[in-house]
Symmetry: C2
Subunit: 368 residues, 2 copies
């Protein structure tokens, strides 16, 4: 097993502090540094580690994580390497080719550097939002340069695993193409859709359902941070936008033709919707492997303290593991609906067990 006794985290924002917390839970010794004293003090207070300046160690740490904003990451890496802070280095920026190019231009040692990208973002920033479990089960891209040594890669791979992440080794160029598709495009699309709501009457927004809420969620992220991310991945992203624009343009034209009486143009609309559904089905399930088809059992519950506890007690007596749960509240009504996700094999026993104990269980949908 690769040794990981002591690490240095440079930059105690959300990502750096979450990594530090995860490693502390694992018993790893963590030294912290941030040029902002308040941020550093908060991270220390959260138990993320001790200040690097007050560490008694003089030799290099096993690995240093450069978790500063991408714009300053290459220079931060260079000075950390110049000071010999650690034997191996990684970073956490969401775009890799741009950063690698700038690091190389600054003369960084590329043999000890393994660019990384833990995918555990959230819509909040700063050390106070940090969680030791931020990376649990999440992909963590590792993009070794042509010069990164196997030892450097092994150390950073171990780092990702100790934080609970799922390391995926890939080329920096492939990584940037991938995040353009699965991260940056959804974000920009969410913003472009949400921007349309600014022109809506208030009555319009009264009709908002779960759909517009889902699609708009990402638009709530920090515009400053996301501008920096999108701009660093400008080229791959612009090409993806071109393709989306083409599709939407074709769609708008088809709708106008249908409106003018050309019924066959509806096939163009349907083609895009079919491709969208096919694309969505390629997304792997939450647990990494192929998406498991859980079935959902809706149960009506009183909207009061303790109702969920009683419901889950009843589920426990049926010895069924609830895989997921979501709640729908009813404004002005004293009931809510709990949607319980379970393995298809457990559905019958859960449904019967709950009904027997007096819960109002709905016939689960049998089609898709």
């Amino acid at each position: 097993m690769t040794r990981l006794d002591r690490v240095v985290v440079i930059g105690t924002g959300l990502i750096g502090t979450s990594i530090a917390l995860a490693l502390r839970h694992e018993g790893v010794e963590v030294c912290l540094h941030d040029r902002d004293d308040a941020s550093l003090r908060l991270a220390v207070a959260l138990g993320a580690g001790i200040p690097l300046a007050s560490s008694e160690h003089t030799g290099p740490a096993d690995v240093a994580i450069i978790a500063v904003p991408p714009a300053v990451a290459p220079a931060t890496l260079k000075s950390a390497q110049d000071e010999g802070v650690a034997e191996v280095y990684t970073d956490t920026a969401s775009v890799k080719t741009h950063l690698v190019r700038r690091a190389a231009a600054l003369g960084c040692d590329m043999t000890t550097f393994v660019p990384g990208h833990p995918m555990g973002g959230r819509e909040r920033t700063g050390p106070a939002a940090a969680q030791a479990d931020l990376f649990l089960g999440r992909p963590w891209a590792l993009c070794p340069t042509p010069d990164s040594t196997p030892h450097s890669l092994a150390v950073v791979d171990e780092l990702a695993r100790r934080c609970g992440g799922r390391p995926i080794v890939m080329d920096a160029h492939d990584h940037d193409q991938a995040v353009a598709l699965v991260s940056h495009l959804p974000h920009a699309i969410s913003a472009a859709m949400s921007a349309r709501l600014l022109g809506a009457g208030s009555h319009s927004l009264d009709l908002s359902g779960q759909g517009v809420r889902d699609v708009s969620r990402l638009a709530g992220g920090s515009p400053a941070m996301w501008t920096e991310i999108l701009v660093q991945n400008a080229e791959p992203l612009a090409s993806v936008f071109d393709a989306v624009i083409d599709d939407l343009h074709t769609l708008a034209q088809a709708l106008r033709k249908v409106s003018a009486g050309d019924d066959p143009s509806a096939d163009v609309v349907r083609d895009l919707l079919e491709r969208g559904r096919a694309g969505r089905e390629l997304i792997p399930g939450k647990h990494g492997g192929p998406a498991t088809d859980y079935v959902v059992l809706p149960v009506v519950i009183p909207d009061e303290p303790g109702a969920l506890a009683r419901l889950f007690s009843a589920a426990q007596e049926s010895n069924v593991n609830i895989e997921d749960v979501s709640l729908d509240h009813s404004p002005g009504l004293p009931v809510a609906v709990a949607h319980l996700s379970v393995h298809p094999d457990s559905l019958a026993s859960l449904s019967e067990g709950l009904a027997k104990r007096g819960w109002m269980v709905h016939t689960p949908p049998s089609d898709r």
Copy 2:
């Protein structure tokens, strides 16, 4: 109170059967009709009502709900009115101006007709997916024509309320503009985004996080059904697409300029993201009123039967109402994280109460 003793539901798909089930729960007498015998029998078996053909009543019902696909709704309305099935009529189609125009052209009586749109869709279809609570707390648009009588409107308003819906009276044109923005645009945008995933390598999709899952969810809906919906609202929708295309085009151009060294173009990117965030903030909260800012408390739990029951029991002992809950599972790890949403006032007592009982509670984020 407006009388609602007996109703006729024509069309026993998801929406019609759900309305029937909701009214049966309210003790209303429901007669069902569907030109597809299998669908009708299933709805009857689910307890949604009795077949219209076997009803002993001869006089008109209080209201008839035309819940057939929009393409055949006007003709269905006309023949129901010709037969004198009810005193008042409504429908459930997602687009209103197109339908009203066609109904008028067929010579339907517009005084007894109040077009309606219950917003409780789901990604499934057919009577088996029906739920009596499908409309609980959901908006239900009522779009009276200039000729609809006040009595007709009162009856359909009562119908919506008895189903648990939240009636919103609006002009048909305003309704169609509104759903173009809050329903049809999100759907099409979700499809256009998801269609891009077809070209992705499998490694790319390994990096999928919650963001792309949220934005792509709607794309999983039925392409056939959604083609019909989008096509019927073609004009308003095409204009909305034009505006989105403009924004995305400007964004792509700005990214290319930044890539070519023109740093100030990043402000164009940020402008769109700012507008997106502002638009998103206009969406009202789940409960109808302004969005309540719940705080989220993450708690680590063992991934085993009964864990949630014990957690909710502990929450109950703190007398805190859990407003929402979501679970994050960790592949390969024996733990999950439950994210409990509570009113900010309840956070401290919940957090302390759980910690005191031995649960691993994370410091909740204090910033946004």
